[in-house]
Structure formats: C-alpha cells, structure tokens
C-alpha cells in the first residue's frame, strides 16, 4: 500500500522536475552554453534556475530534517558522506567537461529523449555506456 503511494509520488516528482527543466530552459543546450560561455554575450538565466531551486530546496530540506521521517512515516535514506577526496573532484571535472561539450546534463538528457529528439537518444545511450564502464571498472578493481 505504502509502496504504491511512494511510487506514484516518485512519478509525480519526475513529472514536475521534467516540466521545470523544460520551462526553465535547461532542456535547451543553447541556453545552457549561453550561461557557461562567460566570454561571449552572457545569459544569466541558469543562475535564476539554480537560485529558485535552492530557495525552495533549502526550506523543504530544513523542514524534512526537523521531521526526520517521510510523510508516510518511514525513515529517510539520504546520503551521509562528507568525504571530499580526489574521486569527488576528478569525477566532477570529467562531468563538467562533458557538460561543456554538449550543454546537456543527465536530467535534461532524459527530457530530450522523451521529446523524441535524436540527440537525446545518442546522449543517453553514451551516458549509460559511461556508467556501465564505471561499474565494470569498479567491479574488476574490487576483485583484484
């Protein structure tokens, strides 16, 4: 019963996130590059996306921290790591290079896929290949 409600709520979260990405311009790579390209005529829009998200997010997560359980009374499953290491920084740098080349991050990539844009399909297939590469590397590394 709870599980069905949770899944429905998760689907709704995905829909609202997707609509927000489309409305905000995040699903338009030209707009994203316009923000990342600080040497050309600069488009600050994405700063407002981030700002809007953080205003709502910081209030929502502060309330959640106080409650310390979900609306359905279940325990939270939030990341607890505070580790700042080379893995975090180098991984983020690689992500940034890929984002800078394409102007597409994972969420908007899925939106483009859903919109039937061929570039979205090529991007998501490559993204999944990269994630598979990571999983295989880590699997082999743990065996050695």
């Amino acid at each position: 019963m709870n599980r069905g409600l949770q899944w429905a709520a998760a689907a709704l979260a995905g829909i609202v996130l997707g609509l927000g990405l489309i409305l905000s311009g995040m699903a338009n790579p030209a707009k994203v590059i316009g923000f990342l390209d600080i040497d050309g005529p600069w488009d600050p829009s994405l700063g407002l996306v981030m700002g809007g998200g953080l205003v709502v997010g910081s209030i929502g997560f502060a309330v959640l921290k106080k409650q310390n359980k979900t609306l359905l009374g279940e325990p939270l499953n939030l990341p607890a790591s505070r580790k700042i290491d080379l893995r975090l920084i180098l991984g983020s740098i690689l992500f940034g290079i890929g984002w800078g080349i394409t102007g597409i991050c994972p969420g908007p990539g899925l939106v483009l896929l859903g919109a039937g844009i061929p570039e979205g399909l090529i991007y998501i297939v490559s993204l999944l290949a990269g994630m598979t590469l990571y999983s295989v590397i880590e699997k082999v590394r743990h065996r050695i």
């Binding site: 996130l17 905000s24 699903a27 600069w42 740098i93 890929g98 800078g100 969420g107 919109a115 999944l128």
Partner: protein, 153 residues
C-alpha cells in the same frame, strides 16, 4: 563581459525562476515522500549497477521517477508546443560528452540535480566542492572549445 539581453528577456528570466521553483519542489517532494535524493545520475547509475553487479536494491521508485521525467515532455505537448531546443554538438560530441558525464557523475556520486540542487539545499560542503569543480571545468571547456580552438564537436 556583456549581458545577452536578447536571450535574457523578462520572459526568459521569469520562466527560469519559476522553472527553478518547480525543480526545487520536485526534489523536496521526492525527499518528503520517499526519503530519497532526486539525483538523476545516481538513479540511472544504480539501475546500471543493478544489471552489472546484480546488487539487489529498491528500484521501483527509481523506474517510476524516470518514467515521470521522460514522460514530462509528452505531457507538455498535450497543452502547448515544446519550446525550442537548439543542439550544440554533432554525434561525436554527444558520444564523447555522454561518456564523460556517465563516468564522471558516477565517480563524483552526483550531477547538477543531486549535488547542485539537493546537496547545496542541505548545505553540504562536499556538494559545494563538487559544484565548483563541475561548473569550473564546464566554463573552461566552453572557453577552450569555442574561443581558443574555435571548434564544435
């Protein structure tokens, strides 16, 4: 630096802000109902992990969330035409970029949604370092490709 007033119109700024509110709302809603972080790369990555490592983890909510995200543009078109989405790269750039984003976000444990929206909203220093790293490298990449080399992949 000059502001691109042709792109940064009052409409664009309002849409960006309202869109940002919706993104924040979606992240908060998922955390309130499922106790989970709305991190797209983490959700996708765990599904891949499930296939590669046969790790048995909850994936129902992940599938539901992804279906909602992929279905959003379809729902949008029921009401209005999708706004323009102008692609910046050809197939080569998409493949290289997609691979880098895939590997990088897995090592970093997050992307723009997980670290950028959720992590910063929780005042995580770890996420702050991640955001500075990927924002910095993205800005440098765009500068090198477009202004130093003058190429698009």
């Amino acid at each position: 630096m000059t502001i691109d007033w042709q792109a940064f119109t009052l409409y664009a700024a309002t849409a960006a802000l309202v869109g940002g509110f919706m993104i924040g709302l979606a992240a908060v809603w998922l955390a309130w109902t499922n106790g989970r972080i709305a991190g797209i790369s983490g959700i996708l990555g765990h599904l891949v992990e499930l296939l590669v490592q046969q790790k048995r983890e909850a994936f129902g909510w992940r599938i539901a969330f992804l279906l909602g995200l992929i279905g959003a543009p379809v729902l949008w078109t029921l009401v209005a035409a999708l706004p323009a989405s102008v692609q910046q790269t050809g197939s080569l750039g998409l493949v290289i970029g997609g691979l880098l984003v895939g590997v990088g976000t897995r090592y970093a444990n997050g992307c723009t949604s997980g670290h950028g929206i959720c992590g910063l909203s929780r005042f995580s220093l770890r996420s702050f370092v991640a955001v500075c790293s990927f924002m910095g490298s993205a800005v440098i990449t765009v500068y090198v490709l477009r202004h130093l080399l003058g190429v698009t992949l």
